[in-house]
């Protein structure tokens, strides 16, 4: 078989233009499977009434989280939205900690005090998940300002959805970051729907993030958000630029969420056949094919799949057995003294 016959969808070929390498690819594959399985488990647990409150899944959007995480260095910081399970898991936060928080157990990442929309793990560089649209873009600027001021060398990434591009904080943050040349990367996960409304119905431009970039002197970047290699290359380039003092980047990743906006949304507003069409471009399907094209054996792939499933099962059982948070943490950590006293 001629080499051209195994050309990958991103244009690279085995042995040629392979700037990523097998180790990195296996890492990205594992991350995507871990996110897929954990999110699917979160959905199943919701149906069993074991995940309470709300949850916003990244099913179908795994490649963005995996591609960026693979380009990060230890010490780099991530800011996420309420759709942040994927980015939290991608930084190496244990599945049990994430599922435990979704299940509102004492073993959760924040012992049930934050919930699904606020996953935070400072030790992994996850500086919080923010549930007020746009709020974290300026906050990410501040983290990057600190890195620039101190010369710390780390880069901050800020993930958000297409809906965020129509709120004021998005524009304030982009201008701020551009004016001060901050080492921050803004990543728009354009999954085509703000919540229940198609983003195109409520946005003046075709590409909600990238078409605004020129207003802040930034490059117009739109990429295939379902191909982890493509995401990784764009991320790597943005990290290199930021680390070299080149300032911020804005990257629009086109992707699609397989589930509704939140657990309450069956997503009936989608045209017939749209989901099926996007499932043809399932990031995991694309990436399994990519691994095969680069000669990774089926048993390696199935071993990863089995290992992740086993770990998700184990995490689920641990969470089911974990107690609810104790009453004594109800009023803890309101202030830095650990308590909530507002008077003497």
């Amino acid at each position: 078989m001629a080499k051209q016959a195994v050309r990958a969808t991103d244009g690279s070929r085995p042995g040629i233009n392979d700037d990523i390498g097998e180790e990195k690819r296996l890492t990205m594959y594992r991350l995507q499977v871990e996110i897929r399985e954990s999110e699917q488990r979160a959905f199943d647990l919701f149906l069993q009434n074991l995940v309470k409150g709300t949850s916003h899944l990244s099913l179908g959007q795994e490649a963005v989280a995996a591609g960026f995480a693979a380009a990060m260095k230890p010490g780099d910081l991530s800011f996420c939205t309420y759709r942040g399970h994927a980015h939290t898991l991608a930084r190496g936060v244990p599945i049990e900690k994430v599922l435990g928080e979704l299940m509102q157990r004492d073993n959760g990442l924040m012992r049930g005090k934050g919930g699904s929309m606020h996953l935070t793990s400072v030790e992994h560089g996850v500086m919080g998940s923010y549930a007020i649209i746009g709020a974290h873009l300026p906050i990410a600027c501040g983290a990057a300002l600190r890195a620039q001021y101190r010369g710390d060398g780390d880069v901050t990434v800020c993930f958000f959805g297409d809906g965020t591009t129509n709120i004021g904080a998005f524009h304030e943050a982009l201008n701020f970051a551009a004016v001060w040349k901050l080492p921050v990367i803004f990543v728009c996960e354009n999954n085509l729907y703000m919540e229940y409304t198609p983003i195109g119905d409520v946005t003046a431009v075709k590409h909600p993030a990238a078409d605004r970039a020129s207003a802040y002197g930034l490059e117009h970047i739109v990429i295939d958000g379902n191909d982890a290699d493509v995401v990784y290359r764009a991320a790597r380039s943005a990290y290199e630029k930021a680390r070299a003092g080149g300032g911020p980047s804005l990257i629009e990743c086109i992707t699609y969420r397989f589930s509704g906006h939140s657990r309450a949304d069956p997503a009936k507003y989608r045209p017939e056949g749209e989901l099926e069409k996007w499932k043809e471009r399932d990031p995991l399907k694309i990436y399994r094919e990519r691994l095969r094209q680069f000669g990774v054996g089926e048993e390696v792939i199935s071993d990863i799949d089995a290992d992740v499933r086993r770990r998700v099962d184990e995490a689920t059982e641990k969470c089911k057995a974990a107690p609810p948070p104790p009453a004594e943490i109800l009023a803890s950590d309101v202030y830095a003294d650990g308590g909530f006293a507002w008077r003497n």
Partner: protein, 326 residues
Amino acid sequence: MAELTYRDAVARGIAQEMTRDPDVIFFGEDVAKAGGVFKTTVGLYEQFGEKRVRDCPISEQAILGAAMGAAMTGLKPIAEIMFSDFFAVCFDYIANEFPKSRYMSNGQLKCPLVVRTANGAGSRFGAQHSQSVENWAMMIPGLKVVAPSTPRDVIGLLAAAVRDPDPVIFFEHKSLYPTKGDVPDGEIVDSLGTARIVRPGKDATILALALMVPRALEAAERLSAAHGIDCEVVDVRSLVPLDTKTILGSVARTHRLFTVEENPRLCGWGAEIVSIVADEAFYELDGPPVRITTPHIPLPAADILEDMALPTAERIAERVRRSLQA
């Protein structure tokens, strides 16, 4: 000891903390090269340079968000919001982000920052540049709220705010900027959560904040001279933490309570204090507690109308006399 204006005390306070700690940075609109629209930060840019004293675009959300991001990753930012009324355009940070990150993250995140802002009436700027909004901040769990009335307190409480590990909203009063007071030489560091008895008295306790403190003091002098009524005036200084010990102790001595509040009446800070006193010192009281406030109105621009709205020394004195001589 030197006489200093409240305005110059702001710059001295910031400079004291920036000199002490390289992690302290300062930014806001027109604060660096222009020295602030109220000229409160003159000289800081020249002294500390453009890396530490920065002019920002008119982007209040970006200013407060950036302060938070810098604070949670290790700096001690001081951010300026030009007028406290503008809190309304960046309230997400004040209400949802600064005060909740530590709690929601189960103690993982910190937010040691100070937001300075020019609060209050007297400049005839009308309803969107004159409000007293300290109660907007007071009602949010997780914030600390300070409002100095003298140049010395500006420096001391600002230092305490910068050194505090929690987010502090620091209300300067724009009508106090030209006022003068004695300030000791050298470093000044005060404590949050401490009220101060600025005039001891035995017949009634008058609680006041910021611009209302000098007015309450003037009222006390009038009451003493004209009616022989001896009022204790307490400068509350810090709404959160609230020094209830000093307040309850004063009420236990005078048995009468008056609050003088510039904020519009509903949910003003005095309402919370009256409720605490009613709950914990009811039997100490010889008469009903009285709140003297701005009416529940937006503020007018015309000087004659604005002066009618705010509590004056005359109105305070008359209200206290009427209660005590009833």
